[in-house]
Subunit: 206 residues, 2 copies
DNA sequence: ATTTACAAACCAAGCGCTTGCTTGGTATTG
DNA sequence: CAATACCAAGCAAGCGCTTGGTTTGTAAAT
């Protein structure tokens, strides 16, 4: 299943908003602004202007500003969980599965959904405690996909370190790429970057 | 030279503020608050209350709120650069040097200066462009220490991936520990965590 | 030893502005 | 002819920062 097919099926199930619809467009712009300026520095007037409406009109679609942030995060996790599952299904060996997960996460972070992913990482504290708990639940499903593969690799002897530590190190390392990786410059492609990560862990398929 | 000696010498040179002085105490509290609630959510009234003065009195010590954030960052980088240099001098082989750097950075992130380090990572965007440039200059010195060691390791054949990519991955991975590593729980010590990082890179000294 | 001088540190009050959000009413759409 | 989407206006609260004046610490002058 292609990335786009996955997105379409999630839209059909009403799990993520159509980026062409009013709600989806707002969420896309919100992710862009939240990433660019941070959640707190982005005003409801900024958000409204970005989609060409008055600030008060926002509150027809969302009850509070925070609800917008939460929606960005929730939809992003849903999409990514689906993308990761697809990546796993496409791979045979555990090594290939790990590569698929890394590649998919790098794509999420540095591709079209990158802004939303960066928001997920950097604006976490701006969520209220109750929203955090809600989002965390979704995240656990997502994290389990990684742990299963890493544990299998450890069982095979391909990995020395503890799976849960490795996953957390990878979370940090991959998220951080958003601050420095620029595909257009320097010629390092996403595949090349994935290779580098595997090489760093001495897990190249060669 | 012990950590404390390094700190004392920096204080003597007026490169970082004495944590017992008025300015130093404010910066410590500022780091704590900025990390806990984020820079934007922390008001000058919060900062003033944390050190027991009126909000207006803050502006005797700093011209703007942003200047406080910048001071936290600048002093943190200065201290860390000194700590890294000491870690390098204490090690013989390149492998041991890398381990020393990782160990020192983990200690910075998860030890007493951890709050300030987290601020450095997560509040970067809240700095004005000109302040960012200033801080970046200091950071370059710090980063060169890492690159030199990683390049030597690559020369030895102990490392496959590109040094500058590895450093960036490590930056992310190590910074991220601040969000999950809790020394008191689970029994993973800082040394144990350092071992895990080395193991993940297949660089254990064993 | 007391006085004088002065700067640094601080307080009390509040100004001007921006913020998230509300309200009451008007287009637009199926 | 509802329901949905929107606008115009503005409120209450909170923000960073300023102001004018008082206390405190220090050290030379008497």
């Amino acid at each position: 299943m292609s990335q786009n097919q996955i997105l379409q099926s999630l839209i059909a199930d009403n799990l993520v908003s159509d980026p062409n619809g009013a709600r989806g467009r707002l969420l896309t712009e919100a992710a862009r602004l939240f990433r660019e300026k941070g959640y707190e520095r982005t005003t409801v007037r900024d958000l409204a202007a970005a989609v060409g409406i008055q600030s008060g009109s926002l509150f027809h679609h969302f009850r509070t500003k925070e609800e917008i942030l939460k929606a960005v995060m929730v939809e992003t996790i849903r999409l990514n969980t689906a993308l990761m599952q697809a990546a796993l299904e496409a791979a045979e060996s555990n090594r290939a599965k790990l590569r698929g997960l890394i590649r998919a996460e790098l794509e999420s972070i540095n591709g079209q959904t990158g802004e939303a992913m960066a928001v997920l990482v950097f604006e976490w504290r701006s969520l209220s405690a109750s929203s955090q708990a809600e989002v965390l639940e979704l995240r656990d499903i997502y994290e389990k996909l990684w742990l299963d593969v890493l544990e299998s690799l450890k069982g095979e002897g391909a990995l020395e370190a503890e799976p849960f530590v490795v996953r957390r190190m990878l979370t940090g390392a991959l998220s951080w790429t958003v601050t420095w990786y620029k595909p257009e410059r320097g010629g390092l492609t996403l595949d090349g970057l994935t290779d580098q990560v595997m090489a760093m862990m001495a897990l190249e398929s060669s």
